[in-house]
Amino acid sequence: MARQEKKKDVVIVGLGWTGSIAGIELAQEGLDIVALERGHDQNTVPNFEYPQQIDELKYGVRLKMMQKPSQQTLTVRRDGGETALPYRSLGSFLPGNGVGGAGTHWNGLNWRPQEIELKLRSHVVENWGEEIIPEGMNLGDYPVSYDELEPFFTQFEKVAGISGQAGNLNGEIREGGNPFEGWRSEDYPMPPMPTTYDSAKFRDAAAAMGYHPFHAPAGIASTSYVNPYGMQMGPCNFCGFCERYGCYQYSKSSPQTAILGALKRYPNFEYRTQSEVLRVELAADGQTATGVTYWDDVAQEEVFQPADIVILSSYQLNNVHLMLLSGLGEAYNPLTGEGTLGKNYAYQMNGGVTMFFRDEEFNPFVGHGANGVCIDDFSISQNDFGAEGFIGGSYWRSGTFNGQPIRNMPLPKGTPSWGAGWKQAIGENYGHAMSIGSHGSHMSYANNHLDLDPTYTDRHGRPLMRMTFNWQDNDLKMNQFMKSKMEPLAASMNPDLMQSGFKGEGAMYDVRPYQTTHNTGGHIMGETAREGAVNRYSQSWKAHNVFAMGAGNFVQNTQYNPTGLVGGLAYHTVNAIRTQYLSNPRPLV
């Protein structure tokens, strides 16, 4: 029989960005809170200290900050006709592990969605008609609007400490910012970061073609900064070790730099690491949860943690897995469209061009994860879907982010992969290349979904989650459109050599190369219990005292990195709990 812990007002599952936000905001209400974290504890000191953190092999290649598949993973197949096989070693995406979660090892790109991305179905139907929506695409509107979320985007940006330059301040378009962004009530908390050589070249070439370059919005401190919780950040020194690393100098936005130090000072908050939640327990009537059962990896036993409110704030994939295992809704059936859990899993469609300039110096190791200049001239709000034959868009960016040579060694196509030719090429090319990336939207489809695997189990005997996912024509067409627009821009810069990498028609999902850790959907928001697993407040339709936060809420993925929307939705949810739910616990919709 499981050990039982003292009842808490709130149990938080996973202490990354959204768990930390829920923790500190609900701690301010005086609630008695425990956060359960599957992984280890980690903080800037001692875990991310210089110089031990500056280790490409350990963190960049052997992925020691990431979820270990031996502890938790899933299976993958491209369509219902394939047998799903385990994602045995990490490749395509890298869920985090330990306190801070993916918010610790991310790159720091912090975007808001465009207004129409949250009402994309309506935007498409109003402008081109329902008939342009491809068969099998589950195009939807979010049940919240940009205007409703705007104060919460602002709140998250202040907490996380974002550097950038407003392009649309209360409707007024500002020179140097992104003219196509959603309106913002305040400018960024910090000014933009300095511009590296590749970014400057891209900026000038883009401006010459009539595009609108602006600084990437960076969760990287450009100045010293104190956030609303009193947490301090120091300016980034372009060390070039962001993605896959913890920041050694308090410059990258993370739960550690922005929230956890303040949160740990609340006596009504505690957290337990190496505590892996196995399931949410439902009351006999099935209408509410009674708490969670977790595995205490130190004591090697199951523990029941009773609580009045359950916040699911683990990584998107793990949230969906827990909800499927706990019966927090019906599993999605792609054939009938019934059920909501696992519905609308989506990803990101990316491509890019690499340019070689034999006689120019880019110092690729001088950079940060959110470095660069962007354009949004081919973003979702700018594309004529009817004329182009796809629904979607992308932002483009150029900026050095790491020059770590095991993984970042662009070489001209046709270079031998080994031998004297390879060795000569690395000497000739390292530091003399730059790239432009296209970071594109990914729609939701009946084919792409999550459910439980019939064969493989984890160390607790639970079924692994099964991902059914493949690239779809709509997004591949969008990617090819970006190629056709980006190549002329790259050519205008007169490189000695340029080469493109954009997936096209017929591309099959390959789990091996790293692509992006922007896994979305699976416990999406819906206007009704038929459409989504949670309502507009991330509240479970099945059990009203369960709130599931994070990118699992996304109806379809946006064209941007997800963290800004994740943070905004988390503050929106926690605000609803504070102002509406605590005084009268009930379904809020």
Binding site: P51, E56, L63, S70, R88, S89, Y197, Y430
Partner: protein
């Protein structure tokens, strides 16, 4: 060379990054004091590889990154030591990976790692299988072949023309990846000896402090690399 337990040579490291080129004479002096000559590869005390496997890894890595031309080869960088240590550690035994069955080693490559074998087990099974192919095709084990025949054999291995069993079919991919890792990883892992590969390409290693550099456009960064333990080159 250790200042504090667990923080090797921080003082020397700081000295190296702050003083930079101006004090290169001093730095060179300090370096001379610190360097102890490594064990010759022929006398290296192996942690995982057998004598035959070591001979293969020495010979194969020497062709994957040859000594000829500019920059160090795998042998000068001591890549075989790196590979031996990695295979002896948790990478070699796939400790972090999900290795439960059933396995489908015949699955198409895009499905990812599906062999039941760990990297260390793949080396153990694939080296004799490949040597047998070399013997049959070229009349000698790989390490005994001429460089020209070694290159031909490695090309056949890379192209999947050696007839390896599905469980070990990815051997070349792993061997090449590990060789490049050993070439570019921090020297604490046994390869990239004296940071020669970083010097060769112009990567400053663990310096990780470039505050003045983002806006110095098209200007080559002048300082040589430092390692995590505080070596410099």
């Amino acid at each position: 060379m250790t200042d504090l337990p667990g923080y090797p040579s921080r003082r020397n490291f700081l000295k190296a990054s702050a003083a930079g080129v101006a004090l290169s004479g001093l730095a060179a002096q300090a370096k001379a004091q610190e360097t102890t000559p490594p064990v010759p590869l022929e006398e290296y005390d192996r942690s995982y590889l057998t004598a035959d496997e070591w001979a293969f890894v020495m010979a194969a890595s020497a062709r994957l990154i040859p000594s000829e031309g500019d920059g160090p080869g795998a042998i000068e960088a001591r890549v075989p030591v790196f590979i031996d240590l990695q295979l002896a550690g948790d990478y070699g035994s796939a400790d972090d990976w999900y290795m439960e069955g059933p396995h489908d080693p015949d699955a198409e490559p895009a499905r990812g790692w599906q062999t039941p074998l760990s990297p260390a087990e793949i080396y153990r099974q694939a080296i004799p299988a490949f040597d047998a192919w070399c013997q049959e095709t070229h009349g000698a084990a790989f390490a005994e072949l001429s460089e020209e025949l070694q290159d031909a054999a490695l090309t056949a291995l890379q192209n999947g023309d050696v007839g390896l069993a599905s469980e070990i079919r990815d051997f070349f991919t792993i061997l090449l990846a590990n060789t490049k890792e050993g070439y570019f990883a921090d020297p604490q892992y046994g390869g990239n000896h004296e940071m020669q590969s970083w010097v060769y390409i112009g990567f400053p290693g663990a310096r990780a402090a470039y505050r003045a550099w983002p806006e110095r456009h098209n200007e080559k960064y002048p300082l040589g690399p430092v390692s995590i333990s505080g070596e410099r080159a």
